[in-house]
Subunit: 324 residues, 2 copies
């Protein structure tokens, strides 16, 4: 059986060929044809118990994660969220108290992000609980994955790898789960912080040439920008922002570095911008109190190159990072 | 555990309180705030293998059903469909050939209904295959469930009960599956005919006061109109349109009548209209080559009353229809 991206390319992208706003299914969301006003951006993602969250995760956090990963898709396109639809298929063992907690989580995030529930459905399933969310937002002009140009710089928001190591902690494969570092990492996995204000500001201030949210890992998601833009990204490992908690884990075991750079669920934005926007981006970082770190340059080619402190390109196999 | 409607009322309707276009989650879809142009209507429904379709159903028909039940929700609000998003969570045993057939089914219906795929995602699940579709349409003014007024007439499109008896046939509990009647009924279950042109025309010609699509059965869905409108519906059993295939099944076993009237998946529209619109509705039925049958009147009260040929109110328990 083909993987997700091959299935989409072979069977579903042709179904989107006639819809200009579907962008060939290559972006984080679709744009509905406008009526002169701002564009409407729409996205649909499903979370499955056991696959996208742990069944024992608190219901309110699961709800907020389901909403937030969709808000992150809107953020990647520079859209401000306005509402969402929810389709909830509940596993047989899920009690009403879980639904209560789930709804309380949604309520908290609705207040935080200024969105409301618009519709959807509730069903029972014999399988794992499935949570589908459609989020809708507006943008005057959307950010795409295809706009990166040679000479642009590559930026990333926040820090990278916390969620992937947090998942490892939650699974008991990355050390003691009780220390403060571990709790902080696990919290980043359980509850993403979608960069809604950043995405909207990048769009409204016209600062970024391309953007994507990091759901499948920095290297893989930046690879999507490279493929869609027909460019390569040349990154310097020492410039990639790691939290102190991740740094300490990497010092304990270098294999954690691969997890941090290729693991998913960061929900930071990685974006490209022309060098003349550096000062404006520094000002934006101050406005948002959010680090925006330049980690490399856009160069000719087609892939993501990561260089070690000596400037040598690195690659990795399933065992971890190695040199060419 | 509460049922679907109680869960929605208790936990999810409060989350929609601040969104006027969510209508308190009482309608078939939500309306996005417009920018002066036509309203955008949006709906999200999930189909689960084993619950909403039979795992052995052909993949192309499953795909078309998943799309069509959402187009039916748009039709109930009078919206013309423009596109859809698809979230597909595939069970482990699903082969690539199934995805191929699924995509071919979507392609056929895209051409038929003039819609395109806009986005979504594809994942694997350890449980039954789950198919979530978000459909988007436009309407100058939407049909609601709350507009029925005392004195209006109750109409239904097409015939009622074919899909419910078709499901019974497919499950082997309603006689021989090989005769032409049975094949016709099973086809109605497997592939709904959403009344897209009817819904749009009712809306554009201003003929209906309230509408809903019949997914949970004529009596239950008309009950939603009654509750939302604060009225009762007084129906005459002999006026309810039944196909000859359903009539023959009912003659064989009167218990099939309950199945026909309370079973789901008809995806016809039941709607109310002032009596002065009767001629215009007759003209519309001719235009669409689709029967629109008056089955009763809107009266004061709060429920659906069904009268036998002698005018006596009928009710039913789990064993079937009985008289008061």
């Amino acid at each position: 059986m083909l993987g997700e991206f091959e299935l989409i390319a072979r069977y579903f992208a042709p179904l989107a060929a006639d819809a200009p706003g579907a962008f060939g299914l290559t972006d984080d969301g679709a744009v509905l044809a406008g009526d002169g006003g701002p564009a409407r951006v729409i996205t649909l993602d499903t979370l499955l118990a056991g696959t996208h969250y742990l069944p024992q995760d608190p219901a309110d956090l699961v709800a907020r994660k389901a909403l937030r990963v969709n808000l992150s898709d809107l953020a990647a396109m520079g859209a401000r969220p306005e509402g969402y639809l929810l389709s909830l298929a509940l596993a047989p063992e899920v009690p009403e108290s879980w639904v209560d907690g789930f709804a309380r989580g949604l309520s908290a995030d609705q207040a935080h992000y200024g969105v409301a529930l618009l519709g959807g459905d509730t069903t029972r399933t014999s399988g794992p609980t499935a949570i589908s969310v459609t989020a809708i937002g507006t943008a005057d002009a959307v950010l795409r994955r295809s706009g990166a140009r040679v000479g642009d710089r590559v930026y990333v928001s926040g820090t990278i790898g916390d969620a992937a190591l947090g998942l490892a902690v939650a699974r008991g494969v990355a050390g003691d789960a009780g220390d403060p570092d571990s709790r902080a990492l696990a919290a980043r996995y359980r509850l993403p912080q979608p960069r809604v204000a950043l995405g909207a500001a990048l769009c409204e201030r016209g600062l970024a040439s391309a953007a994507i949210d990091i759901s499948d890992g920095l290297i893989a998601d930046l690879g999507h920008i490279c493929r869609q833009s027909g460019v390569a990204a040349d990154l310097a490992l020492p410039r990639i922002p790691l939290s102190t908690a991740v740094q300490r884990r990497v010092e304990m075991d270098a294999a954690h570095l691969r997890t941090a750079l290729t693991g998913g669920d960061d929900y930071e934005l990685v974006f490209t911008a022309p060098p003349e926007n550096a000062d404006a981006l520094a000002a934006l970082a101050r406005d948002l109190d959010l680090p925006l770190t330049g980690i490399g340059e856009v160069v000719p080619g087609g892939e993501v190159i990561l260089r070690d402190p000596e400037g040598r390109p690195m690659t990795f196999d399933h065992a971890g990072w190695t040199h060419f």
